[in-house]
Amino acid sequence: MSDSSTSTGAHRAEQPAPGAPETSGAAGAPGVGHAARGPAARGSRSGNAPKQIGEPLISARGVDKFFGDFQALKNIDLDVRRGEVVALIGASGSGKSTLCRCLNRLETISGGEITIDGQLLPEEGKELTKLRSDVGMVFQSFNLFPHLKAIDNVTLGPRKVRGLSKADADQQATELLERVGLADKANSLPTALSGGQQQRVAIARALAMKPKALLFDEPTSALDPEVINEVLDVMTELAEQGMTMLVVTHEMGFARHVCDRVVYLDQGEIVEQGDPEEFFTNPRSERAQAFLSKILAH
C-alpha cells in the first residue's frame, strides 16, 4: 500500500496514460479509497523528491466579486499550477463556490483578472466557449442532461464542440465510463442512476473534453454518505494521474490526504493556505483554528 502510493506520487508529475501499471495498482485496487490513504502514505509521498508541479495554469489576481452591495470575494490571489490538486475549503457562504464558478466565468467578476494557461479569461463569445471547454466543471447537483442516456451525456461535447464522429465519440465515452466504473450503465437515463453514479457520469462528461484542468464545486455534498467514497475514489485516481484540479469540498479527509495544497476561505478572503498536513495539524490563523475546531470536533 505505502509502496504503491510512493511510486504513484513520483509518477504523478509525469502525467502517465490512464491505466499505467503503478496507477492502477494503487487506485484500481478495491477498497483503496481516499480514507484508506493514511497520513503515512501522504508523508511518504511528500518525503520523496518533490512532485514536479508545473507553472501556474489558473491564475486569479485581485479578484473581487459583488452581488449587489454584498462582496462575495475580496481581492483573491490564487494560482493553481499544472498537475496540482488544490482543495478550497471554508464555511458555507465563505465564497468558495463563487470563486470556483468565476474561474470558468459562470459568474462574472467585478474586479481583478483571471488567466487560464496564460490567456486572459475572455468576455462572452467564441473565445470564451473555447476556453470553457478546456476547463471542465463538475457540479454539486450533477446536472446531467436528463433527456440523454449516460453515454450521450458524455459524447455531446466531443461531438458538437470538438466535432468528433459519433463512432469516435462513442468509443471514447465507453472508455471513460469504464474508467469511472460505469461501463454497464452507458445506455441508462440519468433518472435510472444513483447519485454517485450520476456524479461519476458527470466526471466522465467533463473528462471527455480532455480538459487542461477540472473544477469541482462540492461534488459530494448532494450525495448519500455511502456513495461519497465511490466519487472520491474516482477523483483520487484522477489526482494521481496528474490532472490539475481545484476542489471545493467539505470532505476534509480528501483535502488532507489527496490534495497538494489547502486554501482556506472565510468571508470572501483567502485567510490561509499551505500544505494540507501542516494546515490541519497546525493552522496559523485564528479563523482557521476556529473553523477546524468546529468541523473536527466530532
Partner: protein, 233 residues
C-alpha cells in the same frame, strides 16, 4: 338538410380553406414564435426588447382588428395581398406571440444548472438551446402549444370578416340563402370541434412519445398530482 346536400362542394371548399388557414398560420407561428422566444432569452438586450414589444403588441390586439388592419391597411401602403394570405398573415402574427410566451416559459422550466453544465463543456448560446434546453423544454410545451393550436383553429373563423371563403363564411352565406342558422352553424361548429379535438389528440400522442418514461415504460404508475392525498376521510 337540402341546404347541405345541395352545397357539398362549397362546404368542402370551406373546410379546405379553414384547414389551410389553420395549418399555415400555426406552422408559421411555431417558426416565428420560437425565433422570438430565442430572442427573448438571448444575451443581447435589443433583441430581447424587440421580441417583448412584438409579444405585447400582437397578443393584445384582437385578432379581428388585426385582420382588418392587414386586409385594408396594407393596400394603403401599396402592398396588395390576396385575402387568404391576409388571413394567414394575421393568424401567424397573432399566434406567434402566444407561441413565443409558451416556448419561453418552457425554457424557464429547465434548471439553470443544465445550461451551466452545457456551457461548461463548451457549448455556446445556440448549442446550449438546441441540444440541452429546448429538447427538455419541448416536453413541457406540448399542451400549451395545443392550446395555441386550438386558438388558431377558432381564430381562423374571423377570417370570414375579410371575405376568405372558409367554413364560417360559407355557412354564413348559406344561412342568408336558406335561413337555417342553427343547422348551418352546427355544421361550422362540428368542423371546428373536429379539428380542435384532432389537434389535442395528436398533442397527447406526441407528449407520450417524448415522455422520458416512454422507451422503457417505467413508472407508468406515476399518476396525476393527487391534491387530496393525506386528507382525513
Amino acid at each position: 338538410m337540402e341546404a347541405i346536400a345541395e352545397n357539398v362542394p362549397l362546404l368542402l371548399q370551406g373546410i379546405a380553406y379553414t384547414v389551410a388557414l389553420t395549418l399555415l398560420g400555426y406552422v408559421l407561428a411555431l417558426i416565428v414564435g420560437t425565433a422570438l422566444a430565442v430572442c427573448r432569452v438571448s444575451p443581447i438586450p435589443p433583441l430581447r426588447w424587440a421580441a417583448t414589444v412584438y409579444v405585447e403588441i400582437f397578443r393584445n390586439i384582437p385578432l379581428l382588428s388585426l385582420l382588418i388592419l392587414i386586409a385594408f391597411g396594407l393596400p394603403d401602403v401599396g402592398l396588395r395581398l390576396p385575402y387568404f394570405w391576409c388571413g394567414v398573415l394575421g393568424l401567424t402574427l397573432s399566434s406567434a406571440a402566444f407561441v413565443c410566451e409558451n416556448v419561453r416559459s418552457g425554457i424557464n422550466t429547465v434548471p439553470v444548472g443544465h445550461a451551466e453544465a452545457a456551457r461548461s463543456i463548451g457549448l455556446g448560446f445556440f448549442g446550449t438551446l438546441r441540444f440541452v434546453v429546448l429538447p427538455q423544454a419541448f416536453r413541457t410545451m406540448i399542451q400549451p402549444l395545443v392550446n395555441v393550436f386550438i386558438g388558431t383553429v377558432i381564430g381562423s373563423a374571423l377570417c370570414s370578416a375579410i371575405a376568405v371563403s372558409e367554413i364560417t363564411w360559407v355557412t354564413q352565406t348559406l344561412n342568408i340563402q336558406y335561413a337555417q342558422a342553427v343547422l348551418m352553424f352546427l355544421v361550422a361548429g362540428a368542423v371546428y370541434l373536429g379539428m380542435s379535438l384532432g389537434g389535442s389528440a395528436l398533442g397527447g400522442v406526441i407528449e407520450r412519445a417524448v415522455s422520458p418514461d416512454a422507451p422503457t415504460g417505467r413508472s407508468r404508475g406515476r399518476s396525476a398530482l393527487d391534491v387530496t392525498a393525506g386528507a382525513q376521510a
